[in-house]
């Protein structure tokens, strides 16, 4: 052992890493200046950011909030900063934000869309977060009937009657499937519900109870609907209805039943092959021609139907992707347990297929919500349509950026939160150990 010159007898103390490897300097070095090319990129990016922000920030913050018209805005800007360019005129938003949100909805009835919106959030809560009490699901179930009543007003009994039709159908399935089998029960319940909606319900509730106890809200006509409220309304209805219809279509496309499969494939391919705007043209000009002579049903309802059909076809393809991604063993395993078709779909297949397709489903939702702006082309007063109206006004003639920025901001908030929520959901539902 003596030929060894040096043997350390104690452990040396831990040293701090070199200055360039940790903390702020280390971060800068590894993320911004790792080599000469990265350094150049960093400087170009910094210059770009400075260039954009130096134009945008003064425009946003050195702005005019109190003015009655665009020319007044410009006068104030000239008086304050010496020039009228490069300063936003937020006065137009301050003047018209209520209109951009509600359209021409009667101002004394604003509480109704607001209440509908709050109830929407509450009834969505148990769907979105598992920690919320499950009792709220009852509200979620009746919400589809509360929403139109609050928005359009009129007698409550028509909506109660529609709701009771569904309750009746469910009750028939529940209590007769023991006797006539599942298929028979479904057929019976559909017939029962239709008879209720067409004959018994209106007679009993609308004319009977409605005459004794007229619970009605002041009706609002569809022409007064507008603004971001309209975009949300169409978006929510299309999103809410497209998921179940999309699931049915996807199952139809995957099924062994030839006729159902053909109908589903043709429907999906047709809808996906044409732009939404042509479907909206159908809604605005043709849908009344397809209906029995003399029918003239509401334009917003027609648009909702077409947007829903459009969204359903896309949803069906997304869910079909999820179904196709499931290993065959899952289907076979469900069969070997002796589950019937609907049981295996409900308990085994759909939970997994829907989980896989969450990103696609949410991006379809976002797409549908953004596409609601297209209704301005057929003359509905969504935010973009209203912005044209505001610009046509003599006081605000020539104002572009402030309105566009405000509308873009509204859409961005909703769409961005949807995409963030889907990321959260994906993480929460992730069950594989990676």
């Amino acid at each position: 052992m003596s030929d060894q010159a040096f043997v350390r007898s104690e452990i040396i103390e831990e040293q701090t890493p070199p200055l360039t490897a940790f903390g702020l300097v280390g971060w800068l070095k590894s993320n911004l200046f790792s080599n000469w090319f990265n350094a150049i990129l960093t400087f170009i990016s910094l210059y770009f950011i400075w260039y954009v922000l130096s134009g945008v920030l003064p425009w946003i913050f050195l702005s005019v909030w109190n003015a009655g018209s665009l020319s007044e805005c410009r006068e104030i800007a000239t008086a304050t900063w010496g020039d009228s360019h490069g300063h936003a005129c937020w006065a137009v938003i301050k003047d018209r934000w209520i209109q951009l949100l509600f359209g021409f909805y009667p101002s004394e009835l604003y509480w109704r869309p607001i209440l509908a919106f709050v109830l929407l959030l509450i009834s969505l809560a148990p769907v979105l977060y598992t920690s919320v009490p499950k009792k709220i699901f009852y509200l979620t179930a009746v919400y589809p009937f509360i929403l139109p009543w609050l928005m359009w007003g009129g007698s409550v009994w028509a909506y109660v009657s529609a709701l009771l039709g569904f309750v009746l159908g469910y009750a028939i399935v529940r209590y007769t499937s023991e006797i006539v089998g599942q298929l028979g029960a479904v057929i019976l319940s559909v017939i029962g519900a239709i008879v209720w909606w067409l004959y018994i319900g209106p007679l009993l509730l609308s004319q009977g109870v409605g005459a004794i106890l007229p619970l009605a809200l002041e009706p609002v006509i569809s022409r007064d609907f507008g603004g971001f409220m309209l975009a949300l309304l169409i978006g929510v209805v299309a999103i809410g209805c497209s998921l179940p219809i999309g699931i049915v279509l996807a199952l139809g496309r995957q099924s062994d039943l030839l006729i159902l499969k053909t109908i589903s494939v043709w429907f999906i391919e047709f809808i996906r092959g044409v732009p939404l705007i042509t479907l909206l043209f159908v809604a605005s000009t043709l849908l009344n021609i397809f209906m029995p002579p003399g029918t003239n049903f509401d334009i917003i309802l027609r648009v909702m139907i077409m947007v829903t059909l459009f969204a359903s076809a896309y949803m069906a393809e997304v869910i079909r992707g999820g179904l196709a991604a499931l290993p065959r063993g899952q289907f076979e395993g469900a069969d070997s347990l002796g589950l019937n078709y609907w049981q295996s779909q409900r308990l085994i297949i759909m939970p997994q297929a829907l989980k896989i397709s969450i990103p696609g489903i949410v991006s379809t939702f976002i797409g549908v919500f953004k596409d609601t702006t297209l209704v301005s082309i057929i003359g509905l007063m969504d935010p973009l349509g209203l912005s044209q109206g505001i610009r046509a006004n003599a006081e605000w003639n020539g104002i572009y950026w402030e309105l566009f920025a405000f509308i873009a901001f509204l859409f961005f908030i909703v769409c961005f939160s949807m995409s963030r929520y889907s990321m959260y959901l994906e993480r929460k539902l992730q069950t594989d150990n990676r």
């Binding site: 993320n31 911004l32 790792s34 990265n38 990129l41 960093t42 990016s45 910094l46 770009f48 950011i49 006539v180 089998g181 298929l183 028979g184 057929i187 062994d256 039943l257 030839l258 006729i259 159902l260 109908i263 391919e269 047709f270 996906r272 092959g273 044409v274 732009p275 939404l276 705007i277 042509t278 043209f281 159908v282 000009t285 043709l286 009344n288 021609i289 397809f290 209906m291 029995p292 002579p293 976002i366 953004k370 596409d371 609601t372 702006t373 297209l374 301005s376 082309i377 973009l384 572009y400 950026w401 566009f404 509308i407 873009a408 859409f411 961005f412 769409c415 961005f416 995409s419």
Partner: protein, 422 residues
């Protein structure tokens, strides 16, 4: 003697239609078919009754009447005395033009942004994230209208280019004029051109193709095939002898010289835009509506393409890169030979479906007044003739044809690159 016999053939009972799985699917299908057919029949009979009441039976004769409206941005000659069919044809071409241009620029921007989002440079990655989120979460219609507003409000009027102390000047070596009436770019001209060839005679689908262009394209194709042959010959020599002959100067010469010769013989020169009177003359005039639509659609679709490209590259597991590196491949060859071929398999299908979306979104041209097929057939023709049913049917047919062709290409490609598994 038969100990094993089939169970007694049960006689068919009506209740088996509901309870027996063998017959139940037939029941369901028949009910569905009856329901579907009766709904369709109901819709059609309603339509016939309604159209009879309105006094306009379904007929397509209106397509051959004079359209009497003008289309300012067009590829083929057209005037307001031409038929509605001709106008629709011009519209279809305009749709294809903006879709084609949009797909190219969207791909370029999208690939760039998608790769840049994966950059190790934190700042670059953040900027690209902001771009992607901003464009993906705001409606495309808003971007189109915004782009139009920027062009009209932000660019100088033609009169700003005039006089001694002009406030605006031409861009790119005095050849491109950006004005609020549109963009003027130089046009290719041929002083000894060999003319055009007119196709389809006098019909509504007539158009003419420049023979000069055909000649140039033919020469280009020929040069590229010769260049490819030189490359294959070099490969053969390398395979047999181990030495690769230097070919780059030959291939460059074969590609460039013939085209340059043809261009010189045809007398190729550029026609520059010039200010005459109140407006620019000469050059190719791209209207604001086209530019705005092109710009907005490209930037919007590029954000989606960027995400697809990023996802495609991330989908290739690190093991692939590491294995390639352990084989001794250099980084650029790893990219070309290992990562890209696999990433493309993931990228191409959603990429093509985004091309499809772009094409369908180009129907929003109607918001800025670009006369695509929605603007002509589904817009002015519909309003002038009042033939909603026929116009919208034809319009849907056009888009269906385009979409089905694109998805046909997609399926063909998918099948050709599909992993062949045992």
């Amino acid at each position: 003697m038969a100990t094993l016999t089939d169970p007694d053939k049960e006689s068919f009972k009506l209740s088996m239609l509901l309870y027996d799985t063998r017959y139940r699917s037939m029941t369901i299908q028949v009910i569905a078919l009856i329901g579907f057919v009766s709904i369709v029949f109901w819709l059609i009979s309603n339509t016939i009754t309604n159209l009879n009441n309105l006094g306009k039976p379904v007929e397509f004769g209106f397509l051959f009447e004079s359209s009497s409206y003008d289309i300012n941005q067009r590829l083929v000659e057209y005037n307001s005395r031409d038929s509605h069919l001709r106008a629709s044809f011009v519209g279809v071409l305009n749709t294809l033009v903006v879709a084609f241009l949009g797909c190219i620029t969207a791909t370029i921007i999208g690939v760039f942004v998608g790769v840049a989002r994966l950059s190790k440079n934190w700042l670059v990655a953040r900027i690209m994230t902001v771009y992607v989120e901003a464009f993906r979460n705001v409606p495309v219609l808003l971007w189109i209208v915004l782009a139009m507003a920027i062009l009209i409000e932000g660019l100088p009027a033609p009169k700003a280019f005039r006089g001694e102390n002009a406030t605006a000047s031409l861009e790119v070596f005095d050849s491109v004029a950006l004005t609020n009436r549109g963009v003027y770019v130089p046009e290719p001209l041929f002083s000894n051109g060999i003319g055009d060839v007119a196709l389809f005679g006098q019909s509504s689908l007539r158009f003419s193709v420049s023979l000069d262009l055909i000649l140039i394209v033919a020469v280009l194709i020929a040069s590229f095939s010769v260049s490819g042959w030189i490359k294959r010959r070099a490969n053969r020599i390398q395979d047999s002898t181990g030495d690769r002959p230097t070919t780059w100067h030959l291939r460059l010469g074969v590609t460039i010289l013939p085209v340059a010769l043809v261009l010189w013989m045809l007398g190729f020169h550029l026609g520059y835009p010039e200010l005459k009177g109140f407006n620019f003359k000469g050059g190719t005039h791209l209207r604001n509506s086209l530019i705005a639509l092109w710009l907005a659609l490209s930037l919007y679709t590029a954000a989606f393409i960027a995400e697809i490209v990023r996802g495609g590259i991330l989908a290739i597991s690190r093991g692939q890169t590491e294995a390639a590196a352990s084989l001794g491949l250099r980084p650029n060859r790893i990219m070309n030979l290992v990562v890209l071929p696999q990433a493309l398999r993931v990228i191409i299908p959603p990429l093509i479906s985004n091309y499809l979306n772009l094409t369908k979104n180009s129907s929003l041209a109607i918001a800025v007044g670009y006369m695509d097929v929605t603007g002509t057939l589904g817009g002015i023709t519909l309003n002038q003739t009042g033939r909603e049913l026929e116009c919208i049917l034809l319009l849907m047919l056009v888009y269906l044809t385009i979409s089905l062709s694109i998805s046909g290409v997609m399926n063909w490609y998918n099948n050709s690159v599909k992993l062949v598994e045992r």
